[in-house]
Symmetry: C2
Subunit: 369 residues, 2 copies
Amino acid sequence: MSDERRRGGSKSLKRRSSHKQQSRSEFDFIDLIKSRALKSQRITRSPNSSLITHHSSLLQGIGDDAAVIRQSRGNDLVVTSDLLIEDIDFRLEWTTPQLLGHKALAVSLSDIAAMGATPRYALLSIGIPTNIWKTNFIDELYDGFFALADAHNVALIGGDVSRSPKHVVIDSIVIGEVKRGHAILRSGAKPGDHIFVTGSLGGAAAGLKLLESGVRISHQNPRSHRARAEQRLLIRQLLPEPRVAWGTLLSEERLATGMIDVSDGLSSDLTHLCKESGVGARIQLSLVPMDPNIMHFRKSDFDHVSMALNGGEDFELLFTVNPRNLRRLPLRLRNGRATYIGDITRGSTDIAIDGLLSRPLTSAGFKHF
Amino acid sequence: MSDERRRGGSKSLKRRSSHKQQSRSEFDFIDLIKSRALKSQRITRSPNSSLITHHSSLLQGIGDDAAVIRQSRGNDLVVTSDLLIEDIDFRLEWTTPQLLGHKALAVSLSDIAAMGATPRYALLSIGIPTNIWKTNFIDELYDGFFALADAHNVALIGGDVSRSPKHVVIDSIVIGEVKRGHAILRSGAKPGDHIFVTGSLGGAAAGLKLLESGVRISHQNPRSHRARAEQRLLIRQLLPEPRVAWGTLLSEERLATGMIDVSDGLSSDLTHLCKESGVGARIQLSLVPMDPNIMHFRKSDFDHVSMALNGGEDFELLFTVNPRNLRRLPLRLRNGRATYIGDITRGSTDIAIDGLLSRPLTSAGFKHF
């Protein structure tokens, strides 16, 4: 499964979904399906099942940000799909159709970036209730979609339009390309590698909290520092910017050994990366780049540390670098910096965090079930 | 958009969606998005936007059964996505999770077949309410999915799992391969070409009508001819068999000039093909292969002719053949025959039907809006 990120659910829904009594999380299920899919792929392919002689082969399937298909010739292809469902992943009263169209594409571009690939093509499947179909909603949604697609030279090549009985449903599929063998998997991190994260963390989760407390996107100029910070945090939640330039650079220069996008939250996504790589990690809390806009709020408003460690949907890239390549790593691109936050360690996916109190880090990001 | 087919909606929903007062159908909207997408693709791509030198290019986007991506080297790729939404495209009380998993993949395999391509990879995005998540529903759905995927050597490589507030939602994405330049588009039919259809028509629509009237899949051996016919028609609706072998053969032998799958209904899909090819058609009603199981029912049960002409979801292939290639066309493969039903004519998408009464054929297949 390309990703298990989750966005913008309501408080109560989120709370329900993180209850421990749920017998099986979606991560457990994805592991199950992964082993089923691998079993299927081992079934001997009949040599005369097709006359196509140069057929492509599968390099990496379920369990990374996107699947990698190795072509017999030319570049490898990378494919991802992300399902956004109204009242789970977004609320119509919190966003606009344009912002939603942008975000639907952005989450998939982020998956492609997390493989070090360059996005090329998109498909968009939309289910929409009749009353919304009669408005300009879908036109404006495509406005937001195309604005981001054009900025990244991504061509819309297909999809589906269906009626939906109640909720808006969007499945965003993106296909990217990467030089043969250059895809950056979750499984490549090695003990001793340095851990970096692009941009800053916690802003999207803080934005979600503001939406839940009734703050809305405003087209007026905000008057106070706090009002400006609020609007910036809402933008982090509603209009995420995928780190495509970073992803492309890291694969082209072969700078990253492992990579994942921060969609579920740093604690969960670093755990995914460590699990796939069979390593542990130690991060320094004081080095984690917290979204500066969070600082305008009191700790009674937000738990700053928890936002940065467990807040999802920042769509930053978390990647690991072999120390001998550090000199070649730029620390700033046009669309943002990358920050060193700790190191990969030996050991079985244990993540230690040094800070106010040194303690093991447990995954506390978003889960659906 | 890959496809505009529709299946299994309730009577009242279907009736509502075919009302003429709806200002814009999904077909109108898809035309609009197609022109928007083409405009975007004309935006000059910056030569240094990526260091990838051999990037692929788009051959055919929105407006066919699937999009074709021309790779710089090797085979062309074909991609489609199909969204199935509970209570619009299926009803849980009419089907089983296994049948649903089969059908979700089958509809996309049919799109790939309609391009003459061989399916290779699938992604499945699923939204599922919490109460259903706690059952075996999703495991059984994947059972049905993998049974069909294994039969066609299709590898599941990704997807997404999300919670849904009320309805089950499935987006099925399939990627296929076809020899460079061999994809069979809707736009290739020429005046004088003969029109063929695989298998038989009307069975899936009759099966839907039976479901609506309360008939259900039974695991007992049906006792009467009529009961057997009922079960066969339910199977046509709930367990469609995509004509993958036909699609592959037609492209490899370069036998078809144009092709589409019969998902919305013969009248609508032949209209789509004629529109894309800029041609007309004349078909003989007496030649249209009606599902033989329909004959067990009185005309007061079903309008046989309307079922065959307008009933959707048979997932047969409708294709056109240049007369000089007729000798090379096999009329039967292991998984079914192909039947000559008429000819492509000059003229602007006018379709004439010769039969009981000679009259122009109007699209009367399923629309969402």
